[in-house]
């Protein structure tokens, strides 16, 4: 039995301790927004916040979480209001297939919490998730919008 606090709710889950957090979230707790992409922490589709830090949950044994709180894409909204990163993503029509975007949004939300006004280099270093649809240009623009910066290069819809 592993005790886990996800999006403010505590759960006792009966899983093998080596089960990656991703599969506990998806298959045990039914939180499907966090995605499986590679299983080796390469693509970031499974990014969640553990104690506020962005971690790739596909290669993270659930036993390693201990009592640190976990936040998933389902827990990013506050009182039914979209997180500024989600809002920017919505306004700039960032997603294409959308599959990687939960992980992208979680990675960016963590970045902006740490660095409210990140430079290009800081964004490049922090956002290493893979998007096979190639939404990177919109992602960069939406990061600046979410950070309250001026957008250049991409027209707002």
């Amino acid at each position: 039995m592993v005790r886990l606090t996800v999006n403010g709710t505590t759960h006792d889950v009966d899983v093998d301790s080596d089960t990656p957090l991703l599969w506990v979230l998806r298959d045990v707790l039914g939180l499907m927004g966090t995605k499986y992409g590679c299983g080796i922490a390469q693509c970031g589709a499974c990014t969640v916040h553990v104690d506020g830090r962005p971690l790739r949950s596909c290669a993270l044994p659930v036993s390693a979480i201990a009592d640190r709180p976990v936040t998933t894409i389902e827990g990013l909204e506050e009182d039914g209001v979209l997180h500024p990163v989600q809002k920017a993503w919505l306004d700039l029509d960032v997603p294409q297939c959308g599959y990687c975007q939960s992980g992208m949004i979680m990675a960016v939300a963590a970045l902006l919490k740490d660095k409210p006004s990140p430079s290009k280099e800081e964004i490049d270093a922090a956002i290493t998730n893979i998007c096979r649809c190639g939404t990177y240009q919109r992602i960069r623009a939406a990061i600046h919008v979410a950070a309250g910066q001026r957008v250049s290069g991409v027209k707002s819809p």
């Binding site: 990656p20 390469q42 960032v94 997603p95 297939c97 939960s102 893979i130 096979r132 960069r140």
Partner: protein
Amino acid sequence: MSGVPQIDRRLFLASVAAVGGALALGFEIPFGPRAGRASAAAKEITAWIVIEPDDTVIIRVAKSEMGQGSFTALAMLVAEELECDWSKVKAEFAPPHENRKRNRVWGNMSTGASRSISASQNDLRRAGATAREMLIAAAAARWKVAGSECAAANSTITHLPSGRNVTFGTVAADAARIAPPAQVALKDPKDWTLIGTRQNRLEVADKVTGKPIYAIDVRLPNMLYAAIVQCPVFKGAVRSVDETKLAGLKGVRQVVKHTDSVAVVADTWWQAKKAAEMLPVTWDVGDNAGVSSGTIRDEVRAGLSAADARVGRSDGDVDRALALAARRIEADYEVPFLAHATMEPQNCTAHVTAERAEIWAPTQDGETALAIAADASGLPPGKVVVHKMMLGCGFGRRGIFQDFVRQAVLIAKEVGHPVKLVWTREEDIRHDFYRPVAAARMTGGLDADGTPIAWKIRTAGQSIIAAVSPRVMQFGVDRNFLQGLLEDMPYDVPNYRVDFAMRNTHVPVGVWRSVNHSQNAFFKEGFVDELAHAAGSDPYLFRRKLLAKKPKQLAVLDAVAAKAEWGSPLPPGVFRGIAIHDSQNSICAQVVEASVASDGKVHVQRVVSAIDAGHVVNPLTVELQTESAVVYGLTAALYGEITITNGQVEQSNFNDYPMLRLADMPRVETVIIASGGFWGGVGETPVPPLAPALCNAIFFATGKRIRSLPLKNHDLRKA
């Protein structure tokens, strides 16, 4: 027993409603409303359109959505003629089983070849116009006036002489009882108000909040999970499996053997995957175990001078013209296999009973999924239900071949429970239907003025058609392999010939975003640059001369050159390359600005891409698809390579089959030439020019002519 994770019925319904929330609203109409879906009062005006009393319009979409934007653009085509308020529009997938039941009222559901708009725009605009006329007729009947005195706009019908008006929702029930008119007039394109405007995708809210809209997200009561191991050598088979090694493993329920794969079914996917990795399987691999990329390359290269080639197009007398040419230029090009690597790995959930098979699939063709599920389950097609889900990428991986659907149905049939089959990324990379290996031998002849008078192209490589519809092959050459080099080769060279020596391997091939254009543009646009260089001409002006009789191509080429300010000074170390290619009934030209660092690393700073796709429904989609295609093409050009050793794929995941990431994303500028008059494709067209435009820039940067991909195999350091 450890027990299947129980999902209570209430949660299950909530999950279904979340999926349906924005995407499947109303589908039960008129088949009986269900909680979370359209209200009982919603009325199906035609098969395509349901209208709620509150004026919400639900437009049914026959094609799949994999990021390309059809879910939105196809709805826009209906809404344009319906004259409804776009802010009140929702869309849902028309289910394949309903399509079958209703005599294919929604047409062909296959989603590929960038044809979603071109193949359905006429039907969709007519569907919108038909429903509009029915709504007008209902309002006119209510007012006892002539329909000709009424007009519809913004979801409201107005009686023009009196100014009375009524909303669509109010008369929807009456309209649903009116016989559709036999004839409807479609708007003149100059009167379009929605088509041609930038609209965000209809499902964007679900995609930023993590809603369970993909097949991989499906959860059913009593559902089990399956992981699969497929024979690492293609065309091999299972010889034996030692199931005893799994005895006592927690959660493991069953091992299901098929000809070339073994699946482990367990209570959770992680248990299934771990057990599948532990399972000792002996394979019959046959002679293919001796095949490697080296042997394949030798065979393909031998095709470049073999006698068994079939001619695709022949103009003039190319051999004679080459003999007479003042200068003769020769070059061999080649490209490797490529995997699709959709972000959402292959998966399918199936529930098969004696009476019914039900599947949830990431499918680019729901009708093919239905046929496969029927065949695999042994049930008649009328007993199969297919739920089309949003796709986490498609790229051609999930249309013609839906191996994952067959596997899931076969497993679920044995198990009895609903089963969700999810492939690992490793299985996905190693069991794809790859972009074929291909090579080309180019021979060009210039006259004394540097004008090309002869161009001979010998291609060799693996045929997709031979695998997909071998019947077609009986009638001669696989013309599909020569996409972009046949009548669609726009350059005016009086003596021209292209032929193809088919060299098939045991590696499965399939359609990969832009299909054979992907390599043929690289061959053709690389070599035309070589001709320009040999002639001492500027590559842009050289192409202009060869396109003198092709005004549309010329306009696209000029547009990209103007936007990129071709010829203007660039920062030190940055160089331009240009390419143009016709595909999917559209024309795309690109200018790439790139530099090569002293360590040989290629940096792409900027891509300007111009496209003429005729009518443009949603310019925002064109921009997004251009950006997407640039990333797709650039990833392949820089890194893309599937290699074979001992008959099996060497790569396995994103660590050894890398993808472009944010830090390496160039600035992409899209120029849309909405010339009208035709409906061209968009999703694939900007892929083919990218690699040659980039390699042409690298030639200017380094003096090295790139004739094979990917670039990671080339040493581009300064000599």
